[in-house]
Structures are given as structure tokens and as C-alpha cells.
């Protein structure tokens, strides 16, 4: 298992109940796997129009493999402008 640090914004912060969290996930977990864990733990994520994950300030593909101590950012549907 490894620790992943989560930052949340917008409605994701409301769903998570906090702007930050730490999750324990299996080694080799991908972004897709992380999204599955998030929606299983917090079902309200599945009701959103979209759910993207950023790492190092870049949007990530579902296939990206996470490593220990990665800081991922939950990007719920954006609404700037």
C-alpha cells in the first residue's frame, strides 16, 4: 500500500468534506483506479458532470500509474470565465 495526497477544489471539497485528504492505495494504482476508489467511497462524485485528476499541474490520463507520495488534485467540472 502507498499514501496518495489529495487536494480538492470546488464541489469536490464539499464532497470530500475537506480540501485535503490522504488515501492509502495499492502499489500500481492508476488514475482510473483512484477515480473508482473515490466514487466508491464518496458516491456523490459519480453524479458530477465530469471528474478529472491533475498531477504536477497537468491533467492526467486514466492510464497514468501513481507512485507513493504523489499529490493529486481533484478537478470537478470547471466554471471559470
Amino acid at each position: 500500500m502507498m499514501k496518495i495526497h489529495i487536494l480538492a477544489f470546488g464541489i469536490a471539497k464539499d464532497i470530500l468534506g475537506n480540501s485535503q485528504a490522504v488515501l492509502e492505495v495499492s502499489e500500481g494504482t492508476t488514475i482510473a483506479g483512484l477515480k473508482d476508489i473515490l466514487t466508491a467511497t464518496y458516491p456523490d462524485f459519480s453524479r458530477l458532470r465530469s471528474l478529472r485528476i491533475a498531477l504536477n499541474e497537468e491533467y492526467q490520463d486514466d492510464s497514468r500509474v501513481l507512485v507513493a507520495e504523489d499529490e493529486v488534485v481533484i478537478i470537478p467540472p470547471v466554471s471559470g470565465g
Binding site: L7, A54, V78, S79
Partner: protein
């Protein structure tokens, strides 16, 4: 020249116009996004904007770079405000200067359309009877 800013205080269109002024430009297109007083007939009290700032800046910079490349825009300015905004306040300003007007209009439209899809900024509408994160649910 690219000028990207996220500010907590009032945005100033004249500042963006000045930043994109150029002797090579024949046209400057300016988009000003303002806080509307209603959504679907319901009166809005105010909007609250938040951003994942470092990524919002880098995504806005990508948009400005794409504009420079696709429309040969010499100067691009994108300023976005965060915090609590009142009705009529300016939330975003985009200014693009190009040699000819067609490119300026197209580039400016592309910039705001793309900003609304990719930049990690979120707004919440505050009504008298509740609050809603805009566009969060289908």
C-alpha cells in the same frame, strides 16, 4: 507578450488594453466577462470564484500561446478575478491584438471558449435560498 494574472481585486479593462497595445496591431479584440444578475430566472446575490492557482495560470498561458501560434497574435492578456464578486463585477478580461481584425475576433472567442473548458477555476452562485457550484451536475 503574454500577460496572465489571477487577482483578488477589481480587474481593469484599460490595463489589459494598454498591455496589448502594439504598433503592429490593426485590431484589438477585448472580451469582458461580468457577473449577471440572474440564472434561469432566479436572482443571483453574488458569485464566489476559487482557483487551483498554479495550474489555472499555466492553463491560461497555454491558451495564450495557442492564440499566438494560430492567429499570429503579438500580444495576449488574460486576467481572471477570484473571491467574492457582486453583480456587474468583471470576472475575466481577455485582450488580443493582431494585425487584422478577423484574427482578433476569432482568437478572442477561442480564448474564452477554451478557458471555460480547461482552466481550473470554479464559480459558485449564491442565491437568497441556497448556493450552487455552476455546471457541476448534468
Amino acid at each position: 507578450m503574454i500577460d496572465i494574472r489571477i487577482k483578488s481585486e477589481a480587474l481593469r479593462p484599460e490595463e489589459c488594453i494598454a498591455l496589448t497595445a502594439s504598433e503592429q496591431a490593426g485590431g484589438t479584440a477585448l472580451f469582458i466577462g461580468t457577473v449577471r444578475n440572474q440564472t434561469a430566472g432566479k436572482a443571483v446575490v453574488r458569485l464566489e470564484f476559487e482557483s487551483y492557482e498554479p495550474m489555472a495560470v499555466s492553463e491560461m498561458r497555454k491558451i495564450a500561446e495557442a492564440v499566438q501560434e494560430k492567429w499570429a497574435a503579438e500580444k495576449v492578456c488574460i486576467h481572471h478575478r477570484v473571491g467574492s464578486l457582486s453583480i456587474g463585477d468583471i470576472a475575466v478580461i481577455i485582450s488580443v491584438a493582431t494585425p487584422h481584425r478577423k484574427a482578433a475576433f476569432e482568437a478572442c472567442q477561442y480564448a474564452i471558449d477554451t478557458l471555460k473548458e480547461t482552466v481550473p477555476i470554479w464559480k459558485k452562485e449564491i442565491f437568497t435560498d441556497g448556493e450552487v457550484w455552476v455546471a457541476a451536475h448534468p
